[in-house]
Amino acid sequence: MAEPAARETVLETRKLGRLFGGLAAVQDVSLTVERGRVHAIVGPNGAGKTTLINLLSGDLKPSAGTVGYEGRDITGWPAHRVARLGIGRSYQKTNIFRDFTAFENCRLAAQARLPRLSLLRPAAGHRDVTEQAAHALELCGLAERRDTRAASMSYGEQRQLELAMMLATGPQLLLLDEPLAGMGPEESARVLDLLRRLAAGHTMVMIEHDMDAVFSIADEITVMVNGSVLASGTPAEIRANKAVQDAYLGEEAPE
């Protein structure tokens, strides 16, 4: 993994918070994500990890604090504008178009980056879009499943398709919500391998319950409990952190 010479902040949150009917799901979260690094977020269920991702992706608007991306304040931007900045996200619950084929799913994702509305040219005729979609499929190992309806794919394949769709939009920053959730060991290893390859060219923020995977891939780990950051640091620092051990021991087992 090539470390960039100078560390450069890509994504930064300050005192980010979100209330749900008076209840703080996320509170005072300040994060710094640097270019090219894999930043994992771990914590028990209900720690506010997914809410945090939703705040970063624009799916939710924060109640407090700011989000900055590439030096720009993007607090409260709607999801589609955030996405167009080059922030891609995947979902914990598979979120694909079940009636479309794998390729159509990716093409739909890829054409989101078309500069202008295209009403009259057939979708199949946008060469760059179709190439990008095919490339994403191949990257995720789904090239052979190209014309399979998404609904009839296996669960693991659907998870891979989920990633492929995200990649088809050509993002620089990936927000991954439990990319390994619910997978068997074999599929899990395959996807982890894919993530490693992706890490070469992307900055990643990743929620994951599989601690082995987290420690094997992350450059930086943030531990969240009850909506707040408990600790943040390199895997080695986190491993050694007393507070993390106290709070987190015994809850490590995923779901």
Partner: protein, 324 residues
């Protein structure tokens, strides 16, 4: 993404041939009547873009249809303009602007809110014309002249000629069908279908969902305006009933009967529905009772409409062929 089943395409082609030759032997009343059906088919098809593809169930679609009728009526009767070169753009423009305004408010909501809001906003347009003393109010008004198409002194097209008008309506229907098919095969069309399936995901992919919905709403409204222009030219009569919610419900029923999300379904739906109404009306004064029962039966038993039946027949046929 319209995948027209083969049996539907065959039927469509056959129907098109029938429609193309009908004026050769049909009497003038039926030429006029079928022109009306084709106008409603166009109207229903425009709604199908919203309901069947974008997932926007509008219960106020008649507002754009009726508005176009009134624009023609107003320009002809009050300003003495009869040139189709003015009337057509004015009718389409008014429908498009109204669709943009109503759409802009409505698309902030989804589902049942959307249904109710389109209904209520369309009623606002309805009451506007309903209360206009100068425009005939509830009585409506005759439109003094049909549109004219003149190039200098040369009459290019005669709206009074029923056969010519019939082919104009047919041409518009075919053109709209082709246009919508092209649009639905474009990235824009795919995007609409994606929005209907999973709006949140489309946002996360970077789609400005609201913009797409609004554009679809305006396209559909403008096509409804085209249907309204044709109806104004055909019937030369403007009445608030053209924009009421019963008309909106009626055209929605045509879409469902034919099969939404198919484009060709609404065409079949318009023929079946209007011919049937015409037939029932002669059977009994209580024909609305029959229509009510019919509507409920379709909703309960044929949610995919005639197109769904055709699809099933087509699939059976293919399976049968495969077995043999």
């Amino acid at each position: 993404m319209p995948h027209h089943p083969r049996i539907a395409l065959a039927l469509l082609a056959l129907g098109a041939v029938f429609l193309a030759v009908f004026p050769l032997w049909g009497d003038t009343f039926y030429i006029r009547f079928i022109a009306r059906i084709m106008i409603f088919a166009l109207f229903a098809m425009s709604l199908d873009l919203l309901v069947g593809y974008a997932g926007l169930v509008s219960l106020g679609h008649a507002a754009f249809f009726g508005l176009a009728v009134y624009v023609v009526a107003g320009l002809v009767n009050k300003a003495g303009v009869t040139s189709a070169f003015v009337l057509l753009p004015a009718a389409l423009g008014a429908a498009a602007i109204a669709a943009a305004a109503i759409g802009w408010i409505s698309i902030r909501t989804t589902g049942v809110y959307f249904i109710m809001i389109t209904l209520a906003l369309a009623q606002m347009v309805y009451y506007f014309f309903h209360d206009q003393k100068e425009w005939g109010g509830t009585d409506g008004m005759n439109i003094d002249s049909k549109p004219t198409v003149m190039l200098g002194d040369l009459k290019l097209f005669d709206f009074y000629d029923r056969v010519q008008f019939y082919y104009l309506a047919l041409g518009c229907l075919v053109a709209a069908f082709v246009l919508l098919t092209v649009i639905l095969r474009s990235p824009f069309g795919h995007t609409l279908v994606g929005i209907r399936a999973n709006e949140g995901r489309m946002r996360a992919l970077g789609y400005d969902v609201q913009r797409y919905k609004l554009i679809a709403f305006v396209i559909a409204g403008t096509l409804a305006g085209l249907a309204g222009f044709l109806e104004a030219a055909r019937a030369t009569f403007a009445t608030p009933a053209h924009l009421g919610w019963h008309e909106s419900g009626h055209v929605l029923m045509i879409v469902i009967l034919g099969g939404m999300g198919t484009l060709f379904g609404p065409i079949l739906g318009a023929f079946v529905m209007l011919l049937m109404e015409d037939y029932f009306a002669t059977l009994t004064e209580r024909w609305l009772l029959i229509m009510g029962v019919f509507v409920i039966l379709v909703v309960m038993l044929l949610p995919d409409g005639i197109a769904g039946v055709l699809r099933r027949v087509g699939r059976l046929g293919r399976r049968g062929a495969g077995d043999g």
